[in-house]
C-alpha cells in the first residue's frame, strides 16, 4: 500500500499545477463575484461563498489524497458496481431529493446538499472506459455500440427526470470517446447536422435556402469524389433525409408549437433575440464581460456581477467576473489555461498502455471540454443558456469534488501506467 501511494515522482505535476491554478483563480473570483465594498468582508468568511468554497477545496485535497492512496486497480474493478449504485441513487433522487433553483437534483446530507448527478459523470466515465477496455471489445460491433449508448443514455435520462437539462446533456460528450475508440463518425456527423439544421430552421425563415445549400453541397460532393453508385445513392439519400428533417422541423415549429413556446425556442438558439426579455441573462452577461475592456476594471472593482446584474454570478456565470475585472487579458488567460489543460489530458490519455485508461482519459478530456465550451459559449452569447458549471472556477462543492475525482483518478492511473499490461 505504501509503495503504491508513493507516486510523487510519477505524478503528472503539470496537470496538478494547472488544477491548482484554476481552483485558486476560481476561489478569488468567487470572492470578487459576491464582494460588497460597503460591508467589511473577508475572503475567508464562512457566510460568503468564497469562505465555503475554501472548505470545499480543503475537502477536495482530502479526496485527492484518498484517490492517490487507494489501489489503482480499485477503480477499474469496481466501475460497474459504482455505476449500478449511482443509477439506483439517480432513480431515487426525484423521490427523496429537494428542489433547488428549479431542478430536483439535490439530496441532503446534514446541512449540506450534494448532487448525485455530478458524481454520475466520473462513475459513468469509469464504466464506459471499463467496457471499452474489456477483452474482446470491438467498436465496430453493433451490439457493443448499443451497450455503450445505453450506458450513457441511462444516466442522461434519469438526470433529465430531475429537470437538470444541462447536466444531462453533458453525457453526450462521451461520443468523443466513442469516436476516438473507433466509432464511425457518421453518427456524430448526422447528429451534429441534425442539431445544426434544427437551429438553422429556426433562424433562417425561408427553408428553401437551406434546401438549395444542401443540394449544392451534394452536387459538389458527387462531382469531386469517387463516382461509385453506392456513394452517389448514399449522398442523395442523405440529402433527402436532411431536407425531410428540415420540413418536419418547420412544420412542427410553425403549426404545432404555440407562439410562446416558439419564442422560447427561438431565444434559446438565438442569443440576440429579445435581449431585454427572455435573453436578459445573456445580455447582462455580455455587458459584464464586454465592459471589462482590454485589461479589466481590476480585482473587486467590477460592478455588474457583484451588484447582481448578472445572475448566478458565482456559479454558472463566474466567467463574467473574470471578464469584467480582468478584461480580455484575464479571459485570454483562462481560455488558454483550459485549452492547455485539455491538450495535456489528451497527451496523458494517449500515453496510456491500456484501452481502459486511454478511454477514461478521453472521457475526462471530453467532459471538461463540454463544460468549458458550453459554459463560456453561453456567457458570451455563442451558445444557448444551459446551466452547467465552469470546471474548478464555479462555486459549489459537488461540482468541484466531481471534477477533482475525475481528474485525479486519471492522474493516479497515469502514475502507474508502466505497471499495467499492455492491452491496446
Amino acid at each position: 500500500m505504501s509503495r503504491e501511494a508513493d507516486i510523487s515522482g510519477k505524478l503528472d505535476w503539470v496537470s496538478v499545477l494547472l488544477y491548482a491554478a484554476m481552483v485558486g483563480l476560481g476561489w478569488l473570483n468567487i470572492f470578487a463575484a459576491v464582494y460588497d465594498e460597503t460591508a467589511n468582508q473577508s475572503i475567508f468568511d464562512l457566510s460568503l461563498n468564497s469562505g465555503r468554497q475554501l472548505m470545499f477545496i480543503a475537502a477536495a485535497v482530502v479526496i485527492i489524497l484518498a484517490i492517490i492512496i487507494i489501489d489503482m486497480r480499485f477503480y477499474e474493478a469496481f466501475a460497474f458496481i459504482f455505476y449500478a449504485i449511482i443509477l439506483v441513487i439517480l432513480v431515487m433522487v426525484p423521490l427523496i431529493g429537494k428542489e433547488v433553483g428549479g431542478n430536483k437534483s439535490w439530496i441532503g446530507v446534514g446541512s449540506f446538499g450534494v448532487q448525485p448527478s455530478e458524481f454520475a459523470k466520473f462513475i459513468t466515465a469509469l464504466a464506459v472506459a471499463k467496457f471499452i477496455g474489456s477483452v474482446g471489445f470491438r467498436m465496430d460491433s453493433l451490439r457493443n455500440q448499443a451497450v455503450l449508448f445505453a450506458m450513457i443514455l441511462f444516466p442522461l435520462a434519469l438526470i433529465l427526470l430531475q429537470k437538470d437539462f444541462g447536466t444531462a446533456i453533458v453525457f453526450l460528450s462521451f461520443l468523443v470517446v466513442f469516436y476516438r475508440e473507433g466509432m464511425s463518425p457518421f453518427i456524430l456527423i448526422v447528429g451534429i447536422s441534425m442539431a445544426a439544421l434544427a437551429i438553422l430552421t429556426l433562424i433562417v425563415k425561408n427553408q428553401w435556402y437551406l434546401h438549395g445549400i444542401i443540394g449544392a453541397v451534394v452536387v459538389v460532393l458527387i462531382f469531386f469524389g469517387k463516382r461509385t453508385v453506392k456513394r452517389i445513392t448514399t449522398l442523395i439519400f442523405g440529402a433527402l433525409i436532411l431536407i425531410l428533417t428540415i420540413e418536419s422541423f418547420d412544420y412542427v415549429i410553425n403549426n404545432v408549437l404555440p407562439e410562446r413556446h416558439k419564442k422560447r425556442l427561438e431565444a434559446l438558439v438565438n442569443p440576440n433575440f429579445d435581449p431585454m426579455g427572455i435573453n436578459w441573462n445573456v445580455t447582462q452577461s455580455k455587458i459584464a464581460i464586454g465592459s471589462g475592456g482590454f485589461s479589466g476594471k481590476g480585482f473587486l472593482k467590477g460592478t455588474q456581477t457583484k451588484f447582481d446584474f448578472v445572475p448566478e454570478q458565482s456559479t454558472d456565470f463566474i466567467f463574467c467576473t473574470i471578464g469584467e475585472e480582468h478584461g480580455w487579458i484575464g479571459t485570454l488567460l483562462v481560455v488558454a489555461l483550459f485549452v492547455f489543460f485539455l491538450q495535456r489530458i489528451i497527451f496523458i490519455a494517449e500515453r496510456q498502455k491500456n484501452r481502459f485508461a486511454r478511454a477514461y482519459g478521453y472521457s475526462v478530456a471530453s467532459i471538461f471540454f463540454f463544460h468549458f465550451a458550453v459554459n463560456i459559449g453561453m456567457t458570451i452569447g455563442l451558445f444557448p443558456v444551459i446551466g452547467i458549471p465552469l470546471p474548478f472556477f464555479s462555486y459549489g462543492g459537488s461540482a468541484l469534488w466531481s471534477f477533482t475525482v475525475l481528474l485525479f483518478i486519471l492522474l493516479k492511473l497515469d502514475a502507474h501506467r508502466s505497471q499495467v499490461l499492455q492491452r491496446i
Binding site: M276, S291, G293, Q304, K306, F309, W328, A336, Y362
Partner: protein
C-alpha cells in the same frame, strides 16, 4: 483505422478556444457599447440643480426668487405591479392623460427604460405633499426636486422674462452641450439675456446601485462628482416701487414708460402696457397660461419699450435743432416765420427764435430748418444736394442712439429707422427724390421710427449734455459685482455740448411756458421736457408722447412716455412723466388731481 482521430479531437478543442478568444476580443476590446451599458446599469447619475440667481432692485429689494417644486421621474424597467387606476387617483390625472404621458415619454429620442425619465413636471409644494406619502406604492417612480421662479409682486413681467423647459429647436441649436431635454432655461427678458450668469453650475453625483436600484455607495469615492454652484444674483437698477407705480398709471393703456438714471444708464423702470403677472408663467400651468397670454389680442408679451417702433413726433425737433446748430445752418437766435401754408401748426405764435419754436413746437420752423440742412447748395443739382445733406443729417441723428438698437441687456430690441439716401433710393425705386419729397421727417413724422427706450436714452443724453451710457437693467452681476463691460462705456454724440445747453433751455421753456406747462411742471424741481403728438390714422387718436429729465442741473431721472391712441402729448404722456419723476424724486405725488386725471380720463 483510428489514426488521426487524436489530432482531430485536439484540433477541435484548440479551435473552440481560439473562437472564444476572438469573440471575446470583439466583445471586450473592439466594442465599446458594453462599457456604456454597464455604466448605465450600475451608475446612477444624480443631477443636483443649482439655485438660479436671484434678482434684486436698486434698493436691494428682492424681485425674483426661487421656490421648490418637484418633478416625478420614472425608470420604466423598475416599474412593477403598476396600478394605473390608483396612480391616476393619487396624481389627479385622467386615464387619457396618463396614457398620453407614457406615449409622449417613450417617443422621446433619449428615452431608455433603464434611465430616469421625466414623467410629471413641476409639482408644487402642495401637490407634492399629497403625492409624497403614496410614492412608495409605485416602484420605479422617483422625485427630482428643483426650484421654480417666484415673484414678490406681479410687475416687470416683460423685462424679467420667464423660465421654461428648453424647446426642441433651442436644444438642437445649443452647441455647449449643457442642456438636456427637460432642462429649464430663461426664455426672454433678463432670464434669457443673463441665462449664463443666472443658471449657475449643475452638480452631478455618481452613485453605484445594484440590480434592484439599491444604492451601493459612491462611484470611485466621488472622484467624478461635482458640487453645484448657485447662479449669480443680479442687482438691477430698477426701482421696484417706481416700476409698480408706472404699471399702476398705465393700467388700461397701451404704451410704455422708460426711466433711466442719466449718469449711469441704469434703467429705473421699464413699463410695458398691457402686461401680465409673471407668476402665471411658472409651475405646472405654464403651458395653458402661456397659450392664454400669447393669444391675448392686447399682446401682453409684446415688450413695447424695446419692440414697438413709433414715429417720434415733435420730441424729434430737439434733435433737429441741435443738428442744425452743429451744421451751423441756424443760430439760437434765428427767427423763422410760422408759415402755415406749407405745413400746419398749432397755438398762437408767429415768428419765434429757436427756443420759442421748440417751446411751441412750431412745425414750419423745423420744416425750414431741415431744408437748410439738406439743401446747403454744395452742388447745384437739388437731388444730389439733398442726398449729401441727408447723409450728414443721418450721421448726427444716429449719434443720439437712434436708428440702430442700443444694445440693452434684453433680447429682441428693435432698431427703429432713421432714413439714409440708400433707404429713399429703395423706397422710390431709384426714381429721383429731393427735400420736397421727404420733408415730413423734419417734425418726427414720415419715415422716422424710434423705440421708446431710444427716446428715453435721448432724454438722458440731453440731461448729460452730450453723451449717454447704453441703457441697461443689471448694474451688478453678483453682490459688489459690475455690469457687463459694454455698459461702462460713454457714447458721445456728434453735437458740441454747448448746443445741448440750448436744448436744455428750450426744454425748460416747454415746461415753464410752452406746450407742457400745465401737467408737467412740478413745484419743487425744475423739469425739462418735450411733448409730442404723433399722427395716427383716423379714426384712431394720435399717440401721446413726452420725454423729460429732472432736475435741470445734475439730473437724476430721464424719462420717455408713449401712450398709444391718447391724443396730445401734453395730456396723458406729460402727466405720467411728471408723476413718475415726482414719485422717484420725492416718493409720491402732491398732485392727486393729476394722478386721478391719468387714471380716470379715457383720453378720447
Amino acid at each position: 483505422m483510428n489514426e488521426g482521430r487524436r489530432e482531430i479531437v485536439q484540433l477541435v478543442f484548440a479551435l473552440v478556444g481560439i473562437i472564444f478568444i476572438i469573440k471575446l476580443f470583439f466583445v471586450q476590446v473592439l466594442d465599446n457599447r458594453y462599457a456604456e451599458l454597464a455604466d448605465g446599469n450600475a451608475i446612477l447619475r444624480e443631477v443636483e440643480y443649482p439655485f438660479r440667481g436671484l434678482i434684486y432692485d436698486r434698493n436691494n429689494k428682492l424681485i425674483v426668487y426661487n421656490t421648490p417644486e418637484f418633478d416625478i421621474q420614472v425608470i420604466i424597467k423598475e416599474v412593477k405591479n403598476f396600478d394605473s387606476a390608483r396612480f391616476c387617483t393619487v396624481f389627479e390625472l385622467s386615464r387619457e392623460e396618463l396614457r398620453a404621458r407614457f406615449k409622449e415619454m417613450k417617443a422621446r429620442k433619449e428615452y431608455s427604460p433603464f434611465k430616469p425619465t421625466l414623467f410629471l413636471n413641476q409639482l408644487s409644494n402642495i401637490d407634492f405633499a399629497r403625492v409624497q406619502d403614496h410614492l412608495d406604492e409605485f416602484p420605479g417612480f422617483y422625485i427630482q426636486a428643483r426650484t421654480t421662479r417666484a415673484y414678490q409682486s406681479p410687475t416687470l413681467a416683460n423685462a424679467l422674462g420667464y423660465v421654461s423647459e428648453i424647446s426642441k429647436e433651442n436644444l438642437a441649436r445649443d452647441a455647449s452641450g449643457i442642456y438636456k431635454q427637460g432642462d429649464y432655461v430663461g426664455q426672454s427678458g433678463i432670464e434669457s439675456f443673463y441665462e449664463e450668469q443666472l443658471r449657475g453650475k449643475r452638480g452631478v453625483r455618481f452613485k453605484l446601485r445594484n440590480v434592484k436600484g439599491i444604492e451601493k455607495g459612491s462611484f470611485k469615492n466621488g472622484e467624478y462628482d461635482t458640487l453645484s454652484t448657485p447662479g449669480a444674483n443680479l442687482y438691477t437698477g430698477i426701482d421696484i416701487d417706481l416700476q409698480q407705480y408706472g404699471e399702476f398709471l398705465m393700467k388700461g393703456k397701451a404704451g410704455s414708460i422708460v426711466a433711466i438714471e442719466p449718469a449711469s444708464g441704469e434703467i429705473l423702470s421699464l413699463v410695458s402696457g398691457p402686461s401680465y403677472d409673471p407668476a402665471l408663467l411658472t409651475g405646472r400651468n405654464y403651458s395653458s397660461n402661456f397659450k392664454l397670454i400669447s393669444n391675448d389680442t392686447l399682446k401682453p408679451l409684446f415688450n413695447r419699450p424695446l419692440m414697438a417702433q413709433y414715429r417720434p413726433g415733435s420730441i424729434f425737433k430737439i434733435a433737429q435743432a441741435m443738428t442744425a446748430l452743429q451744421e451751423k445752418v441756424i443760430t439760437p437766435d434765428t427767427r423763422i416765420r410760422c408759415d402755415r401754408t406749407i405745413i400746419n401748426c398749432h397755438g398762437a405764435h408767429t415768428n419765434e427764435d429757436l427756443r420759442g419754436a421748440i417751446a411751441n413746437s412750431c412745425n414750419p420752423y423745423f420744416h425750414n430748418v431741415l431744408r437748410r440742412m439738406l439743401n446747403k447748395g454744395i452742388v447745384n443739382d437739388p437731388f444730389e444736394d439733398t442726398r449729401i445733406g441727408l447723409e450728414e443729417w443721418n450721421k448726427h441723428i444716429t449719434s443720439f442712439g437712434f436708428g440702430k438698437r442700443l444694445g440693452i441687456d434684453l433680447p429682441n430690441e428693435k432698431d427703429g429707422l432713421i432714413p439714409t439716401p440708400a433707404y429713399y433710393d429703395r423706397a422710390y425705386r431709384n426714381r429721383p427724390w429731393k427735400f420736397s419729397n421727404i420733408y415730413s421727417i423734419a417734425i418726427g413724422e414720415g419715415e422716422n421710427l424710434v423705440v421708446p427706450i431710444q427716446m428715453a436714452n435721448f432724454a438722458a443724453t440731453i440731461a448729460n449734455r452730450g453723451y449717454y451710457y447704453t441703457p441697461h437693467l443689471v448694474k451688478a452681476i453678483g453682490e459688489n459685482g459690475k455690469p457687463l463691460p459694454q455698459y461702462l462705456e460713454r457714447h458721445y454724440t456728434t453735437i458740441d455740448s454747448s448746443y445741448f445747453v440750448i436744448a436744455v433751455d428750450a426744454m425748460q421753456k416747454v415746461v415753464e411756458e410752452g406746450t407742457g406747462q400745465y401737467r408737467a411742471r412740478l413745484a419743487d424741481v425744475m423739469v425739462c421736457g418735450k411733448t409730442g403728438t404723433v399722427q395716427n390714422a383716423p379714426p384712431l387718436f394720435d399717440h401721446s408722447v413726452f420725454i423729460a429729465f429732472a432736475p435741470r442741473d445734475n439730473p437724476k431721472i430721464a424719462i420717455s412716455v408713449y401712450v398709444e391712441d391718447a391724443g396730445q402729448g401734453a395730456r396723458a404722456a406729460a402727466s405720467i412723466a411728471s408723476l413718475m419723476i415726482e414719485k422717484y424724486l420725492f416718493g409720491g405725488t402732491k398732485r392727486p388731481h393729476i394722478e386721478q386725471y391719468v387714471l380716470n380720463n379715457k383720453f378720447e
